[in-house]
Structure formats: C-alpha cells, structure tokens
Amino acid sequence: MIKFILNNQSVETALPKGTTVLDFVRYHKNLKGTKIGCREGDCGACTILVGELAGEKLKYRTMTSCLMPISNADGKHIVTVEGINRDDGGLTPVQSAMVETSGTQCGFCTVGFVMSLTNFCIDDTPKTNEAAISAIDGNICRCTGYKSIERAALSLCGTAARRNGDAEIHSAIGNEIVPEYFANIKERLSEILNSRFQIANSSNRNPEPGIQNPKFLSGGTDLYVQRPEEMVYADTENLFDSAALRFINETDEFIELGASVVVTDLLESDVFNRLFPNLYKHLKLVSSTPIRNMATLAGNFVNASPIGDMTAWFLALDAEIELSDARSSTRTLPLKDFYLGYKQLAKREDEFISKIRFRKDFTHFNFEKVCKRTYLDIASVNTAISLKMSGDVIEHAHVSAGGVFATPLYLRKTSEFLKGKEISAETIAQANEIIQTEISPIPDVRGSAEYKRLLLRQLFTAHFVELFKANIQ
C-alpha cells in the first residue's frame, strides 16, 4: 500500500505502483488542474510540488508528475494546483501576478508555471531575478512569448523574500503563497514515515499484466519516456527513496555519492560547490529544474545515452561505480569500463549501481555543451575535463565527450597524451588531432557527423580558454 499526502488529504492506494502521479491525480482523484502536455517531461504542464522530509527539514521541489511513479510519492506531500488554491476564491500572489501580467493566454501551460513559481517562493534559494527566471526553465509556453511570464516571475521576488524571521513554509503561509494546512504537513509526514515499517513488507504485487523488466527504478525520467506503457505494471524495486543511496560524503581522498543522488542534490551540496566553482553555471544547462530534481546519477549512467550530461561529467572525474545485487555482494569498476557498446553495460540484470566515488585531487574542471535550445535540450555534443596541474605541467588529465560515439566516451588516448604536457596552443592542437581519431559520430537530428567533429574540436579548445584564459593566446 502506498501512502502519501495529496494536497490536504491523506491517501492510500493499492493501484499498480508504476501508475504515474499525473494519472493518479487526474483519473483517480479528478484533480484536472494538472495538465497532460507531453508525458515525457519536456513541457512542464504537469509540474507539481513534492514535499519530502529530509531529517528535520521539510523540503519542496518541483517534479514533472508524468514521469513520477506513485511509488516515488510514498511518504511525501504531493501538491497540485488544487492544493494551493485559496478557499475564498481569491488568488495567491503567484496566480495574481500571472493574471495581471497577461502571463496566461490559452492557459494550458499556466498551471505548470504557477507551480514552478510557487516553489520558487517557498524554497530557500535567494530570491534573485536570475533564480526567478531559472525557476521556470522547465516550463514551455507556446502562446505568450514568455515576456509576460518573466514579468510575473520578477514581480514575485519581493513577496517571496519577505521572511519575518519565520521558516520558509511559515513565511509562505504568511505571504499567502500556500494555504494554512501546509503548517502541519511536517508532522503528518513524520507519522506516515513512522508507521511505514509495518506496511513496508506487504508486497504490492499487482494483478495487471506482469512485466518483469526492468528490475530497478530510480527517478524514472528515462524509463517513463522510453516504455511508459510497461512501466505502469512493471514490478520494479524502487531505488529513488532508499536513504542508503542518497548521501554525499567527503573523505581525505574521495568524494563518495549514493547512486540515487539527483542533480539538484549536487547543486545544493557545499562540497560540490567548493570543488566545482562553476557548478551552477554548468548544471543549469542540464535539462530543467524539475528533471534535475528527479534524475539520479545512477539513472543517467545506466541509461547510457551517448550524450548524457552527468555521464560525461563523471567520466571526466574518472569516477568508479560500485555495483550491488540482492545478495548484497558488491564489486567496483571504473565508470569508463561500464560501457561495452550502444546501450550495453558491464552489469548483470540483477545488479544496480549503489555508490559512485571519485578522487578529489584534480585542480581544474570544466564542462561544455552545445545545443539548439538553451534549456530543456539534449546536447548535440558535450565534453568535460579534469586536470591536475603542477605549475604549468599537467600531472594527469581525464577528458570525456558525449554525442560523438555509440556510448558516453572517455577519451583514453587524449587523456594519456595530456599527461606531462605543458598547456600551450600546440598541446591543444595536438590533443584535438588525437580526439578526432578516438571519436566516430553519427549524423542525426542534432547535427551531421562533420558538424559534431567540428563542435568537439571547438569545445575542447573552449575548456582551455575557460580554464587558462591567458595561457594559450
């Protein structure tokens, strides 16, 4: 039995646990404010708030309900627009702003924007103009041309920043961003979580057609795009909410991460912000806010998309992954050895990624990506690099590239070549020649093979322009 709070209502359901939250709220709860625009996490019309207890803190994030199984809602607070609407028929400041700026035309994307902006008003990020605009990076509008919605977003910065010394959620209630009942959600979620052990064992085998694959489900952002009809009935093990898989630890030598860490966790991690000074600049190019809130590192690795952003990132850190199985036997292998061919992995079916770790001994890191659209895009080509510099000399280097091979690609020869070299225009030119021998891009909708070759050449050079502005001119 899956149990969570939907708006102000405690719900339990024995529906197939792969049912999406979107279908649950619309078909089973008749809450139709949440819209179906694409069912693939691209448009943001189905954006909801998901409140989760993290220790003592109740934290809300936006997610696209179309890619979220109800099993991932278990023990959480799911908020649709009906859950923020005021009883007295008035509007919240977010809703008022959207009406007054003419931020709604046909209205179909509107609720998604309202939810994203509501989350902006209740989360603990600084209420800057930039953050307000970023908050709607996962929402597409086809009517307004966005300018009016931007004005709505910017107008909210003041309201959202009004704190009166209260915790976020109490400020938000005071500012009428969310209704009163939000005040008790923390306690109500604790109760659910405390009672969970009794129900955890009652298995949820559904009577629907049983599809055995895939075995594991994490954030769902790829699987629900690729095989939605099966996922509803699939009997998967949920890795997304396993506390054992949601940590970021620092040791003297390593950073260790649980495999279900999502991209946003990295953004909010002090350790990561220290190690990667441009973290925000780089990660904001990865998909969109709701997807970053759902997409796990392991999911990105296992999906094995040749242009997975996080895969390229961790390949350039020469990360290792730990694979576990049901018997809790584990083994470790370098991420670069994980990819055998297109979507083929060095992984048994009953294994899942449990841990990721990388050495922190690099001195420089950079990530570059080119795509047609600024947000919500899949890269044409991406690349990442980490370097350990000793003076002007590269002690070691790891370079990765995406979109130029059948798998995410660790550039072995290039990385090896850079070792011991001084950074110079010549080194970069030579490395670029080696890169061209290591890649074999195929033409597709994101560009011709020739174009991708050219792009990687430019992006590889861009790493050095970005990291060593003066040295290579």
Binding site: D42, V81, T104, D137, C143, S148
Partner: protein, 716 residues
C-alpha cells in the same frame, strides 16, 4: 471609450491560473471508456492482416476497432478518415482503436495489436514527388520579359521544412450518444465545423450533434478542420454504447492534425539600378498528401506589398505519402515572406542600397494587383517608428562589420502583411433589467483573448461594466460564428457584438421616445451607461433602463444579430502591416545564434485591448524565432516516417531563448473595414520574423541561409 482601447486583464485568467478552466479531455463523464490509437508502421501499402487477439485478452479491454469492424463514414470527402479500409496512405496512420476501462489498460493493450502489411514503395521527399498545378494568382504584366531586361537580377531558392503547431494541449474528444443524438466535447477552433462534419459522417441531422469546446489549450490552425479523432471517438462510443474518450499523445499529434507544408520557393527579381523593382517571378512548390490537395499559396504574399509592374506566382503541389498539411499560424504568408523578404534583402546588398530604403523605394501606395486603394496602410509609419526605436540608422551596411566582443552582431529587417478579413458572424445578447448581460456566439478562444475582447465590446456599448457581462462561446447551441482562424475573429464577432448592442439601444430608445419624452432626440446622440439611457446633448433626457423594461413588462431584451462585411469594403484592399527589426549575435567559433533584440511595429487598425494584444504579438514573434532557428519535423525517408515527434526533439523556444522583444502599435482609424476599425494581428506578428532573422544572420556572418531552420551546423 470606457473599456475599448484600455488595458484589461483577461476575464478567463482566474479560471486558468487556478486550473479550473476545463479543456476537452477534462469533462467528468460517467462510465467513460478510454480509446488508444494504434498507428501504422509503414507509409504506403495495405493491411494484409491484423491480429487483435492478444490485445483483447488483456484486462480491462472492452473492444478493439479495426477497418474490419469499424463504423464507415456515410458522407465521403477527400479528408482522411480512420479505419475505413485496408489502405495505408501515411506512416503513423491509425489502424486500430483499443477501447478499455482505463487509459493505462488501453495503452498497454495497444502495443499488442499486430499488423502485417503488403508494402508498396513510398515517396516522402517533396523534391522528388510528382506535382500538380494549383492556384497561383494571375500573371501581372510580362514578368519574363521584364526580368530579362532588368539591369540587376537575383535568383535564389528557399526551403522551409515541415513544421508542427505543437499547441500545449494535445487534441482530445469525449463522445456520448443518447439514441440518435451525439454530444461531444472536443478541442476545436470552430464547433460548428465539427458539428457539420459529424452530422454528415453519421448521416444524422445537424441539430442532433452537440459540440462543446469552451477552452482550447492553443491550436494555431491544428483544430481548424475537424480532425480524424472526433469521428473515431464518436463511432466507438456508438458501438460500445458508452461514452468514449480519445486523447492524442504528443507523438500522435504529429500525424493527427496536419502541419505546415514543406515548401520550396524560387524567387527571381529584376530591378533597375536605383532599386525600382521591375519583375518578380516567385515560384512555389508545397507538399500535400496523395489523397487530398492542400494549398496555402505562399507566393501570394508579396503581390500586394511591392509596387512591381510585372509579377508571376506559379504554384504547384507535390503529392507525397504523408498526411495532408493544414493551416498553421500565418499559413502561406510566413513561408512566402521568408522567401520574398530574404530575396529583397539579397537584392539590397546587390544594389548597395539599405534594405529598409529599398522597401521604401518600392512602397505600394495602392494595391498593385487590383489598383484599389488601401482602406488604411500605416506601414510607412511602422518603418519610421520601428527603425527609430531600434536605432537602425547606426547600422553599418557591410556584413561582418559589427561586433560585441567575441560575438558577431547582425541587424536585419523584413516586412509582414496579412489580410484584414471579416466574415459573417452571429451573436445573441440578452440585456437584463438588473443590468447584467448574457452574450453568446459559437466562436472560440484558443488563447488570444476572445472571451475578454467580446466582453469589453459588449460592456462598452451596453454601458455596463465588464463584470456584468457573461460571454459564452465554444458551444453549438450558440449562434453561428466562423472558425477562429485567419485573424478575423475580433473583426467578425466583435462587429456582431457591437451591432447587437446598438440594436438593443435602439429598442430601448424607441421605448424612451414613446414613453419617456425622448421625442426630438436622435438615437445617435444617446448613450447607455450606469443603468441609464440618456442624451449626450440634453441632460434632462435620461431614463433608467430598468424603468424602460418595467414599463413594457420586460425583464430582459434579447437581440439576435448577424454582422456582415460591408459592401464598401469591396472598393478597397484591406491589410494589416508590420515592420520587424532584429538583432542577432552569433558565436563564430560555436555557431550559436542568439536573437538578442526584436522590435516590431505593426499597424493593425484599432487596438481593442493593449494588454492581450501585446501578449499576442510577442507570442507571434517567438513563433518566428522558433521557425527561424529551431523548428523542424525531420523525416526518415527510408521509412517515410516523421522522426522528431516529441518536444525533446521538435524544438520550440524556451524562455531562455527569448531576449528583448518589444511590440509597438501604430493605430489606424479605418472605418471602412468595420465600424470599430478592427484588423487582425495574431498571424501578422509572425509573418516577417523568420526573414528578418535570416537577414540579420547574413549581416552578422556573411552567410545567406536559405533553408530553415538556421541551425548552428549551417553557420559553421
């Protein structure tokens, strides 16, 4: 004017921001079953066999319809109709409808329907497909000869890929029968069209079909024609004797409602050395399906724009094994404008004349096709005001001559035009003694703000506040209105609202003359406001509307009114015009293009509601940015299959792609087009944008990109 011309927030805003606005798929219907469409995997041939047995065994499945057991249409036309026979005419064609108790069950079972095909060779490349002649307009003068004699000539070919509307709301219908009577909730730009289509298809009386569509989550032309799913849905509902809902998936939309056709255009221009146009030959080929002709005459654009004595616009359709294209925002015009307005820019460089100046040199003071005057045309003011605001005079003429750090900067301009049409439209206004009014017309509001503007017009002329007006649309029980398309809704339905309100005033005035001493006052000198009818000239002549009704034992006055385009319009050509000024910045190393500034000045008659109007214009500009830089439905010709059928691969701009966008209106006082001086704007705002961007890209990079979209690989 109290309301007209003033900013007003949309009246449906509250319903939309709270999620209470009901779209087609959202009506709560008891006992509804869910249909899921199964699509063909070949582009041409026929179904040899179709096996539904495995799918039928799945839990929840009620019935599976194929061409073998489906309802056949009574009245045939060329439009595609699902499950009528074994023939496959495009890839992605519906071959079965699985109906089940839940959406998930229907979708799961749908993938177990197996078809075997007899394949035939298909052809989906417009360049290679056989063509037929289509209407291309009369030849003006002697273009061939004039072209040969011209001092300066240019010739270039422009290509536009297939594009899809991608409104945020996927198409959906819920159909239910009560005996011989059909009710359907549908996503529609014109409920009366769907009503006619379904009545004919089932062979039932028109009045036995009710179509309801109060909110439409964007459509942009994709719901102008009745698509195949309403009949499919209604047929399934009739057979299983239960309500049925069918909702396209995002992917199904790419083959479910048409698209902007693939268009190849060749433009030849001859001009004198001082820039005077001598001849234009603008040839166009657009793709269509094998079973239906769709023509949008892209090369018609330009005929009214330039004062060019010799003009020819031959037009052909290429018959491809794809679904039929359809109207997509600014159909024809935006495609034609990309070609002509790029070509004019090319000519400007050839002649070394500023591109804006070249347009001014060839400015048409009257319609060059008919010789008729324009009922109004403030394009010259658009040029001046737009250029001044943009700072056009600072433009350096040479390509690659302007920079901002590592970015190449380019400035481009183009012109847009769109017909200011008006169609017959009916409305019913009921003014009640309590000072409220109900207004109804079977028009649609797909997003531009029709609910709001008709409310404002009714409020203005009934003399009551907009909050007292309840305007209903999107329902076949309401008086006839044209489809919402062609930017003619406000001109048509707004004129009806105006006329109906004036007639109500006239009725009240007649009572006032008879009963309240208004003799000697002319109706034109009276006004209604704050519950009174009064003379604007004589303070003593004033009477409460409630009293007028009471005296005549009335609780309300009902006026059914049909507005018609005036005869006087025939003596004029009526167009909306606009000038676009665009700045792009191009990263020379990576080929990234940013549209950093768009200034658009448009002359679209009288602006009813600046707030919704600006929003509509900005949205159109962003459509232009998408068309110029991102949008493209790619086809894998080996399978004749559309490939970029989701929003991850079919790119429409996200908010980070949109930088400075400003829209200005040059108001025109045009009483010839209609009493309120309304032209349309929803399409005009997009028309010149792709060309202006392409021209700016040329100015920045020296590369003339003649194939849209202008992707980074074309720049490098």
């Amino acid at each position: 004017m109290r309301y007209i011309g003033k900013e007003m927030s949309r009246v449906d805003g509250v319903a939309k921001v709270t999620g209470q606005a009901k779209y087609a798929a959202e009506f709560q219907v008891k006992n509804v079953a869910y249909g899921f469409i199964v699509q063909s995997t070949i582009a041409k041939g026929s179904i040899k066999s179709i096996d539904t047995s495995e799918a039928e065994k799945q839990s929840g499945v009620i019935k599976i319809f194929t061409h073998l057991n489906s309802v056949k249409r009574k009245d045939k036309d060329d439009a595609f109709c699902a499950l009528q026979n074994e023939k496959i005419v495009f890839n992605g064609q519906p071959i079965a409808l699985v109906v089940a108790e839940s959406f998930e069950q229907a979708r799961f079972a749908a993938r177990l329907v197996k078809a075997e095909y007899l394949k035939e060779a298909h052809l989906t490349e417009t360049e290679k497909a056989p063509t037929v002649d289509s209407r291309g307009g009369k030849v003006r003068g002697n273009p061939k000869e004039a072209l040969q004699n011209a001092a300066v000539r240019i010739s270039a070919e422009y290509t536009i890929p297939i594009e899809h509307h991608n409104p945020m709301e996927p198409h959906a219908a819920i159909a239910m029968w009560d005996g011989d009577k059909l009710s359907i909730f549908d996503k529609s730009q014109g409920v009366k069209e769907v009503q006619r289509h379904l009545a004919k298809s089932f062979g039932i009386a028109t009045e036995n079909v009710s179509v309801v569509s109060p909110f439409v989550g964007g459509a942009f032309g994709a719901s102008l024609n009745p698509n195949y799913y309403p009949f499919l849905t209604a047929a399934a509902a009739r057979e299983i004797k239960r309500p049925v809902k069918v909702n396209y998936t995002r992917r199904q939309m790419f083959t479910g409602h048409g698209y902007r056709p693939y268009t190849i255009q060749k433009v030849q221009i001859g001009a004198s050395k001082d820039g005077k146009l001598q001849a234009i030959i603008h040839e166009a080929i657009g793709n269509t399906s094998t079973f239906e002709d769709f023509s949008e005459t892209p090369n018609g654009f330009g005929r009214t724009l330039y004062n060019c004595p010799n003009y020819d616009t031959p037009y052909k359709l290429a018959k491809t094994d794809l679904p039929t294209p359809t109207w997509m925002r600014a159909p024809g015009a935006v495609s034609g404008a990309f070609a002509i307005e790029s070509a004019i820019d090319e000519l400007a460089y050839e002649l070394k004349i500023d591109p804006l100046q070249l347009r001014i040199i060839n400015y048409a003071e009257k319609d060059p096709d008919t010789g008729k005057p324009f009922s109004s045309k403030a394009l010259m003011e658009c040029f001046k005001q737009g250029a001044a605001k943009f700072g056009w005079e600072k433009r350096k003429p040479e390509p690659r001559s302007m920079r901002d750090g590592k970015w190449l900067v380019g400035w481009g301009t183009a012109t847009g035009t769109w017909g200011a049409m008006q169609l017959p439209a009916s409305i019913r206004i009921t003014l009640k003694a309590d000072g409220t009014a109900n207004v109804g017309s079977a028009t649609a509001d797909i997003g531009p703000g029709t609910y709001t503007v008709i409310t404002m017009i009714a409020a203005e002329f009934l003399g009551i506040s907009p909050e007292k007006v309840k305007f209903e649309l999107g329902d076949t029980k309401l008086p006839n209105a044209p489809v919402q398309g062609g930017s003619f809704t406000t001109a048509s339905v707004g004129s009806a609202a105006h006329g109906a309100a004036l007639n109500i005033k006239k009725k009240l005035f007649d009572f006032a003359v008879r009963d309240f001493g208004f003799a000697g006052v002319s109706v034109e000198d009276t006004e209604m406001a704050k519950g009174f009818l009064f003379s604007k000239k004589d303070n003593s002549k004033s009477v409460a509307i409630a009293d007028l009704m009471k005296k005549n034992n009335l609780t309300e006055i009902v006026e059914n009114y049909t507005s018609m385009p005036s005869k006087e319009r025939n003596n004029y050509t009526s167009m909306a015009h606009g000038a676009q000024f665009v700045e792009v910045k191009v990263d020379e190393d990576l080929g990234i293009i940013k549209v950093t500034k768009v200034i658009e000045a448009t002359a679209v008659g009288k602006i009813m509601n600046p707030k919704t109007s600006h929003s509509q214009e900005m949205g159109g500009i962003v459509w232009g940015i998408g068309m110029a830089l991102q949008e493209q439905t790619e086809i894998d010709h080996r399978y004749g299959k559309m490939m970029t059928t989701n929003l991850a691969d079919y790119h429409i701009p996200s908010n980070a792609d949109v930088h400075t966008v400003e829209t200005d209106f040059i108001e025109e006082d045009d009483k010839i087009i209609n009493p309120l001086g309304i032209k349309g704007m929803g399409e005009l705002c997009l028309v010149g944008i792709p060309a202006a961007i392409a021209n700016a890209v040329f100015h920045a990079t020296g590369k003339r990109i003649r194939t849209l979209p202008i992707t980074i690989d074309k720049i490098l």
